[in-house]
Amino acid sequence: MNSFQLLLQGFGVASQPMNIIFVTIGGVLGTIVGMLPGLGPATGVAILLPLTFSLGPVAALIMMAGVYYGAMYGGSRASILINTPGDGAAIAATFDGYPMSLQGRAEAALAISAIASFIGGSIATIFIALLALPVARFALKFGSAEYFLLYVFALSATASMSDGKRLKGFISMLIGLMVSTVGIDPQSGVNRFSFGSLELQGGIDFLIVIIAVFAFGEVLKSFRNITDGTKKIQTKFGKIWISMDEWKQSIWPILRSTPIGFFVGVLPGAGATIASLMAYSNEKRFSKHPEKFGHGAIEGVAAPEAANNAASVGALIPMLALGVPGSGTTAVMMGAMLMLGLQPGPALFQQQSHIVWAIIASMFIGNIILAVINIPFAGVLVRVLAVPPKVLYPIVLGLTFVGTYAIASSVASFYLLLVFGVFGFFMSKASFPMSPFVLAVIVGTNMEQYFRRAFKIANGDMRIFASSPICIILLILIIGSLFLPLIQKGFKTLKMQRQTQA
């Protein structure tokens, strides 16, 4: 079957009434969580994960996908209305979205943000439908050595992308990999680093680590700058729509930013934040009126919004087709899949293609539903921003505990939650990026197993890691990802020197 037929099959599954209800629930909850400052899509998916426990794998993943891109939609609401981005990807929406609100154009800003997200997300879903199958088919050529190197590349690229903190990014990654080695070794049965604790013998559940680092750590961080009330927000709006002129100004920026966002999203470690900032600066460069940017230019909202939604869809390609998550949020999504007994990667496309294509099809449906929800009901949804953070954060804390218990069914998991929560807090305080850590915790076990399988196949000969063209390409990419920031720095210095000479 080709991609089109498989996509049609996926639509058959995703358009079942119950699945539409689940994607709607996921989308609404995601939008709400995404709006809340500090709680981005990764935290949203992590704390809402237990809600899917009683569902089947298809419905659970459709709902999780709804939460994921719902959070991407929601992130920009707070940016536009109160100048407080829900997460990194929504930062660019503050640049022109908030000035638009101050000028009394909040309706247009909210509308264009939803429209751009819808168009960006929908086009990116077409891209994913076209690219996922070829990527998955190509991945069938991968052996243990290739998979190991692919994981190394994903992790090193993520760590390298930690702007100005590369060393800390790599340390964060190593600690994550160490966490994944705790427990009984599946190949030899040797009990490693469990210090005699029965609870640790089965390993540390990465979902607990994720919830601890993202949600619990976020609550601890909130003590630093929590305020008594909320910022005054506008909850009554006129017609949330845009004029023909505004549409004409926005459509090209949306269409230009979508592919940028998508391909940046596919790259491991880059993510929606970089995509949206890149789209913004790109649009400013293209604009005939760059001086209007930062003062309420509608293109300044349209471009990053399209890019960040496209990036969030693009990030699903390496996760679904290769089983390698490229961002914190897709790592959480992959965690959810593993918990449901699904191993993302090329085999998933062969053995359970109906699930993959149902998720992809649900993105089309979800995008339509989210646009419908986010435009007319924006006034209702943004009321969530009126909940004082001092009430909100304890509730998030309550949800992290119940979520942890739902995953592990043991109070011992609470201690892990507390330990990793504090660890995550101090790591963030010391400016250690957390995405490499989370990614490493999730892929660590597989990475080690692939390493050892390759090691065994080659009878301990390390040359197996450079034995095929794919391995060599991956090695070049790894070296490239390690040295790219240094090369970029070199080019910058050279450019500056030339400028001073001129």
Binding site: P50, L51, F53, S54, L167, K168, F170, I171, L174, I175, L177, M178, T181, D185, Q187, S188, G189, V190, N191, R192, F193, V219, L220, F223, R224, I226, K390, V391, Y393, P394, I395, L397, G398, L399, F401, V402, Y405, A406, S409, V411, F414, Y415, L417, L418, V422, F425, F426, M427, K429, A430, S431, F432, E448, F451, R452, F455, K456, G460
Partner: protein
């Protein structure tokens, strides 16, 4: 000492302890005896090296710019709140199986809301805690089939 410096020392120590523990691991009874140690040894030694490098980097940074680095304070409102939150978490873990989800969560959330909002708003604090505990129990236990411990009284 700033937060980054303290963490760089801590991660280097973690690297050291982890490497040491790796070499103390028992040999595998099947296959290559040292196989379960290879991957952890690579990780431990790498962390030890990168951690040491980070310490050197931090010392140089500290010498360069003493003012701009973020200092860690051990006494202050933020630290006090974090400490009480953790203590509350341990109390919650201790009570959870003994008195059941609803009562333990009610106590936990009441204390946590007090930490965040102070004691003045105790009426709304108790109300929010009660509503959250019951709604979460009904949602997870009754609707989604996630087992949550009940109180010794037998209900909720």
């Amino acid at each position: 000492m700033n937060a980054s410096m303290i963490m760089s020392v801590i991660v280097t120590m973690i690297g050291f302890v982890y490497t040491l523990s790796t070499f103390l691991l028992p040999d595998a009874r099947i296959g290559v005896s040292y196989e379960p140690k290879i991957f952890p040894a690579i990780l431990g030694i790498s962390l030890l090296l990168l951690g040491s490098l980070l310490i050197v980097q931090e010392i140089r940074l500290l010498a360069k710019d003493k003012e701009s680095t973020s200092r860690i304070s051990f006494i202050g409102e933020e630290q006090k709140n974090i400490f009480f939150t953790l203590l509350n978490g341990f109390l919650y873990a201790g009570l959870f199986d003994r008195i059941g989800y609803v009562f333990a969560t009610f106590i936990f959330l009441s204390i946590q809301l007090c930490i965040f909002r102070g004691k003045k708003t105790w009426k709304s604090t108790l109300l929010i805690s009660l509503i959250f505990s019951i709604v979460a129990f009904l949602l997870f236990n009754t609707m989604m089939g996630v087992y949550l411990p009940k109180s010794p009284l037998g209900f909720m």
